[in-house]
Symmetry: C2
Subunit: 123 residues, 2 copies
């Protein structure tokens, strides 16, 4: 089962640093998202059920940590979009962003470097 959007926000917190307590997670994400204790707890439980996080006992409470890696998550999500909207091809995706003027100067520099490196390692 897929990690939902709200759940992903919890995951991001855990990816940044883990293991962490629920209280700790709430402190980081609550104010920013306007979420209350119960919300964070429910999300954590759903993530446990989905096996996206694991919990290890620490005295009276649990410390939570990702089981699903960010790489795995990002891969699923971006492959989904790529396949659904761009026929699985990367160049059209970039072309789209280019047309939308979403390519910064920095992006362009980095992309060039990336392509250069691909050439290098390939020769």
């Amino acid at each position: 089962m897929a990690v939902s959007e709200a759940e992903a926000i919890i995951m991001e917190v855990l990816w940044r640093s883990s293991p962490r307590s629920a209280e700790d997670i709430l402190a980081e994400v609550g104010p920013q998202q306007g979420w209350q204790e119960g919300t964070v707890k429910s999300l954590l439980n759903r993530l446990l059920k989905k096996k996206a996080v694991k919990a290890e006992r620490d005295g009276r409470r649990y410390l939570y940590a990702p089981r699903l890696t960010r790489e795995q998550y990002v891969s699923q999500e971006s492959k989904g979009l790529l396949d659904r909207l761009f026929g699985g091809r990367v160049a059209p995706l970039v072309a789209h962003f280019s047309e939308q003027r979403k390519l910064s100067r920095k992006d362009i520099v980095e992309l060039k470097k990336l392509l250069q490196e691909l050439d290098d390692e390939q020769s």
Copy 2:
């Protein structure tokens, strides 16, 4: 309100060619998705309610056509992903696909050309 995944499949049909009747849409998408008449009709109605498609009477029936353009849809979706997962930057996205070996030879050629063109038009 956002166009859902199932709804997007109907949209794709309409983007390919429109206006079209419900029957016509069903013929194209039904067998492939295993959807029945009622399903397609419901999806069309939800899309109407969301103003993503419009319907024009054609005798006893309606002909449906997109109101939301594919460009608009693709933009929303891809900007969402870009922001959520890559800090809104394109280069990291491409780097990700590169690491996942999702860059085909053809992609690389096209990306180079794209970057070249950007240079050209800018100078």
